[in-house]
């Protein structure tokens, strides 16, 4: 699983409504809950994260303190305009502990995510870490694995019954995975996929 919302993956915080130089907004995306960004008073507060590429997201996790209402908006443009609300939630007050909240985003694509904190349980709120699970990457990886595994499975086995059903299974599973989403551009899977697929198909269909 790759966290695309990390500065090491090329993500950036391009806007933050307030900032203390000792607790910069970059602390949100350094993958560490010990460092944090803190708002410096009044609501709403917001920050915008820009990804290196358009990403397809399945889950966002936010580690924070004293945040009450959070709204997430996404943009698919390259210049952080035209935001649409994709999630909104009231967090529970966790005195003495960090809040950890998940947002399920069911494969939404975005180039930017904007987090708007509309209210808090205190004058100041902090955000410690933002973690993003990408759908395209997980799909891409399983597709990868699947395509490498199938040829060996088919041809190491002398069982013709198994070989007989595999072409159908392979095609069905492949179509299913393909429809889930195109692999991310950062994974050069499409090239591998097409060459592997054609060789796989040739070899699979040879006995018939």
């Amino acid at each position: 699983m790759i966290d695309a919302a990390l500065s090491s993956s090329g993500a950036q915080v391009i806007v933050a409504a307030s900032s203390d130089e000792n607790y910069p907004p970059d602390n949100i995306i350094n993958g560490n809950t010990e460092s944090f960004w803190i708002s410096t008073g009044m609501f709403p507060q917001e920050f915008i994260i820009r990804f290196a590429d358009a990403v397809k997201m399945s889950l966002v996790t936010i580690h924070s303190y004293n945040v009450k209402n959070l709204k997430i908006e996404k943009s698919t443009s390259s210049d952080a305009t035209d935001f649409d609300v994709i999630a909104q939630k009231e967090f529970e007050h966790t005195e003495g502990n960090l809040q950890a909240n998940d947002f399920s985003l069911s494969g939404t694509t975005a180039t930017h995510l904007r987090f708007i904190i509309t209210s808090g349980y205190d004058h100041f709120v902090s955000v410690h870490r933002q973690h993003l699970v990408l759908r395209s990457v997980t799909v891409g990886q399983s597709l990868h694995l699947f395509l490498f595994l199938w040829p060996s499975l088919v041809f190491s086995s002398c069982d013709w019954v198994l070989a007989g059903i595999t072409p159908h299974l392979a095609i069905a599973s492949f179509t299913c995975l393909w429809s889930l989403g195109q692999p991310s551009a950062r994974f050069p899977i499409s090239d591998i996929t097409s060459s592997l697929l054609s060789s796989l198909m040739k070899r699979l269909c040879a006995p018939f």
């Binding site: 130089e21 008073g41 609501f43 303190y65 410690h128």
Partner: protein, 186 residues
């Protein structure tokens, strides 16, 4: 260096001098409004206050609110989540002092248990011959409510900055406290 932002709600009965006080503060004492013009709704004054012995500052967003009962409901909608409170009365009006408890209840209801620094300001201290509220009495009540007491005269440009400086300082202290708390959590 950090710049904090605080929403300061300025409340109290009508004509106690809330607007005069906020205008004096805004203009550094250059502008005393001689003619009374009643505030309907909220007038916003923004001014940055430097915190002594630091490179930090607090930007105060003063919500100079109408004191007339008719407008209060509309004002409440604009207050939202206040950061600090400046409660004003007129030392020559016992009634305006007694109203303070009511104003305080109203604001506290908005805050839902949130700790909020506040000051009580006795304005028009120049009207010594007409004084109805003694300093000691006001001081004692302020203390019982966790407010810091200041006496000012917007007309004589006396002490007008003090309440706001103390609010800024209190908000700044609160910020530093919170950072300490959060650091122990991570």
């Amino acid at each position: 260096m950090v710049k904090l932002r605080a929403k300061c709600i300025l409340v109290g009965d009508a004509s106690v001098g809330k607007s005069a006080l906020s205008q004096m503060f805004r203009s550094d004492g250059a502008h005393f409004q001689k003619n009374y013009s009643m505030t309907a709704g909220v007038e916003l004054v923004v001014k940055s206050v430097n915190i002594p012995d630091s490179a930090d500052s607090v930007e105060l967003f003063l919500f100079d609110s109408a004191g007339k009962e008719t407008f209060v409901e509309a004002c409440e909608k604009l207050w939202g989540q206040p950061s600090v409170l400046c409660l004003v009365f007129d030392v020559s009006s016992e009634v305006s002092f007694r109203s303070c408890a009511l104003w305080l209840d109203r604001i506290r209801a908005l805050c839902q248990g949130l700790q909020m620094p506040g000051v009580l300001v006795g304005n028009k201290s120049d009207l010594s011959s007409r004084r109805e509220v003694e300093t000691a009495v006001a001081q004692e009540w302020a203390q019982s409510q966790g407010l810091e007491y200041h006496e000012t005269s917007a007309k004589e440009m006396e002490n007008c900055e003090a309440p706001f400086l103390s609010l800024a300082q209190a908000f700044y202290t609160l910020y530093q406290d919170r950072i300490q708390t959060i650091q122990t959590l991570a």
